[in-house]
């Protein structure tokens, strides 16, 4: 049973998750731009790829924006977390094997020490994020059930990955949980706060376009 599920989740299940993610993203972006054309002429008029890129860059480079300098802990930890969550799905050796076996992508593979460190750092970062959400009054005030669920799902994803990687007791179940959690998270990207992955270039980009192109002021 578990072998059948494993085969499904690494095959058709993964393709399905990817398809839902891509179709959902395209649908959301399509709807966004359809509405922009209908209702928000300012967006199309003022969006500037130059100023958008400038703003996005200054907000992504750690310590380039004033707020990132004012929050050095958060900047460092969230940078490491994003490095882990973006690179590990592609360059962790086991993922790379699955991808190359499926004939989708042939990518270089991280040495084990790199992927292990990133995964452990990812768990630590998630604990930090959960700590902020629970302990900081302003973050707790705006947190919803979905925010906790999302963090919990990521925690399951990372910890089951480490469990499986170090082949601790029950690692086969852990790897199954990891694969299911991964697929569910991929499929949920367009429908949850993970949508910031594709909305960020639009929202930060538009802010940068307005501040840079219209108001002639830097926005970082």
């Amino acid at each position: 049973m578990s072998h059948t599920l494993y085969a499904f989740m690494t095959g058709l299940g993964f393709q399905l998750a990817l398809a839902i993610c891509l179709a959902g993203t395209l649908f959301k972006l399509g709807l966004f731009f359809k509405r922009v054309i209908k209702k928000d002429a300012a967006f199309l008029t003022f969006f500037s790829f130059w100023y958008a890129s400038r703003s996005i860059l200054f907000h992504l480079i750690p310590f380039a924006s004033r707020n990132s300098r004012l929050n050095p802990q958060m900047t460092t930890i969230s940078t490491i977390f994003h490095a882990a969550v973006i690179t590990l799905p592609l360059f962790y050796s086991a993922h790379a094997v699955l991808l190359s076996d499926s004939g989708i992508l042939f990518l270089p593979r991280f040495p084990e020490i790199v992927s292990d460190t990133l995964a452990v750092a990812g768990v630590a970062a998630l604990l930090f994020f959960m700590g902020r959400r629970l302990l900081l009054r302003d973050v707790r005030f705006i947190s919803s059930l979905m925010d906790y669920l999302l963090l919990g799902s990521l925690m399951v994803l990372f910890s089951s990955a480490l469990w499986a990687r170090f082949q601790m007791p029950g690692f086969l179940l852990a790897s199954l949980i990891h694969i299911i959690a991964g697929n569910l998270l991929i499929a949920s990207i367009p429908f949850t706060r993970l949508s910031h992955i594709f909305y960020m270039p639009i929202t930060r980009g538009y802010a940068g376009s307005e501040f840079g192109g219209v108001r002639m002021v830097k926005d970082w």
Binding site: S65, R193, S195, Y199, R215
Partner: protein, 440 residues
């Protein structure tokens, strides 16, 4: 409980209460649906979907910092308090709508500082403006600012000034000025002038000396200028802040139409921030102009031109040390902070900076129409800007006796802060000091 962490829960305002007396949930829902589905940009839903609730915007807000980090005053906290209850689909009661109006109109200056501090670029000021639009359409608007909007609608100025009173004020100021400079005149309706000079309603009403000073500066600089003699002389716009965009469009059209009728080359605006936002950025868009149809020059840019091109001469710089408060609408609204400092450098010997400054300045607390919500909300406004008082105190400790700010709203806001926190400082416009130090 200290003064700064008392949350003002129940505001007594007859404008809000009058609107709520006609409360009809079905109608409110129709309005919300219309605004969200038909009027608002799709960015609204993108912002709500993309905000990861990280709380990194909190420390950008002067209300949050001044209210001992009460989370209800953080930018994202305010969205949770006012916008989310209206669009959640749950029951909307008069209390929910009143709270939304109080938060949107009186606890956010729409200063856009938080937009600089959100990595994802969530425009909280836009979200708050959507709530104001909903409240306007529901008729639930604080009394004082609604009265100002009514004045705009009826008289095309924000102070209920009649057409003849405007002209009377100009002639009165011309007479005053002639005691000092017998040859001076205040040109009115001079077609083909280079500059149309426009001001906000409170200048003829409360600060008429600014008109006199402007005339002297124009005369000495040899500017070919004119005031309009008709409606369209007032560049201010509280309708932009109440959510009455239809009237905002009428006001801006009247302003531009007047300049076009007078065949001027450019509009120079007095020292006002919100009016600049309306003329330069918001109102022109509403009536379909990507950029204003006639170049708009803020007073800071104009003084910069006069001083750097030696059109006026400063006989002796002001010796009293000054500090400079950056008005949000010309700094985050138009990047004029360096020009302003150049102007200050020409007219004052010592500038003591407040920290943070320039595009990272803290708002005066009056902007976004908050001061126009009047006495019922003054306490909320002053308590919500303790950080500005601390900035001023720090500048005072370094020797600054004067705070310069080229914005009427900032003057009002800083006056209240200075009075409430007992700071011994004088507030001046740039033109006050230019007039004081220039060769006449």
């Amino acid at each position: 409980m200290t003064e700064s962490n008392q949350r003002i829960i129940d505001a007594d305002d007859k404008g809000l209460d009058a609107g709520l007396a006609l409360f009809d949930e079905a109608k409110v829902r129709r309005i919300i649906k219309k605004v969200v589905d038909e009027e608002a940009s799709p960015r609204l839903k993108a912002y709500l979907s993309t905000c990861v609730h990280c709380g990194l915007c909190s420390d950008s807000c002067h209300y949050y910092l001044s209210r001992d980090k009460d989370p209800a005053y953080s930018p994202a906290g305010k969205v949770k308090e006012c916008l989310l209850p209206l669009i959640s689909g749950k029951k909307i009661t008069p209390a929910i709508l009143k709270k939304a109006a109080v938060v949107a109109y009186t606890r956010c200056n729409l200063c856009k500082r938080c937009s600089l501090y959100c990595t994802l670029g969530v425009d909280i000021a836009y979200l708050i403006s959507v709530v104001r639009r909903i409240c306007h359409l529901c008729g639930v608007v604080p009394h004082y600012i609604q009265d100002t909007a009514n004045s705009h609608s009826a008289t095309f100025n924000q102070m209920w000034i009649k057409d003849d009173e405007w002209l009377d004020c100009l002639y009165w100021q011309e007479e005053e000025a002639r005691e000092e400079m017998p040859e001076i005149s205040i040109p009115v309706e001079h077609e083909g002038a280079d500059v149309m000079y426009s001001v906000i309603g409170p200048e003829p009403k409360f600060r008429a000396q600014l008109i006199y000073q402007a005339a002297v500066i124009m005369e000495k600089a040899g500017i070919n200028w004119t005031f309009p003699g008709t409606r369209g002389w007032d560049n201010s716009d509280m309708c932009m802040y109440t959510g009455d965009y239809e009237t905002m469009g009428r006001l801006k059209k009247a302003h531009f139409d007047t300049a076009i009728r007078l065949k001027v080359n450019r509009i120079v605006m007095g020292e006002c921030g919100h009016a600049f936002r309306s003329v330069f950025d918001t109102g022109n868009r509403y009536i379909g102009w990507k950029t204003p149809p006639i170049p708009i020059v803020h007073a800071v840019e104009f003084y910069h031109e006069l001083l750097t091109e030696n059109k006026i001469t400063i006989k002796k710089k002001l010796a009293t040390p000054v500090t400079f408060h950056d008005p949000c609408n010309i700094v985050r609204g138009s990047g004029l902070h360096e020009m302003a400092r150049t102007v200050v450098g020409h007219i004052c010997e010592t500038l003591i900076e407040m920290e943070p400054n320039r595009e990272h300045n803290f708002c005066c607390g009056a902007g976004g129409g908050v001061i126009n919500c009047g006495p019922p909300f003054k306490n909320e406004r002053v308590l919500g800007n303790r950080v500005k008082a601390e900035q001023l105190m720090a500048a005072k400790a370094k020797g600054a006796d004067i705070v310069i700010t080229p914005c009427h709203n900032c003057h009002g806001g800083l006056e209240d802060i200075i009075q409430h926190y007992g700071i011994d400082m004088e507030i001046k416009f740039l033109s006050d000091i230019i007039y004081e130090t220039m060769e006449i």
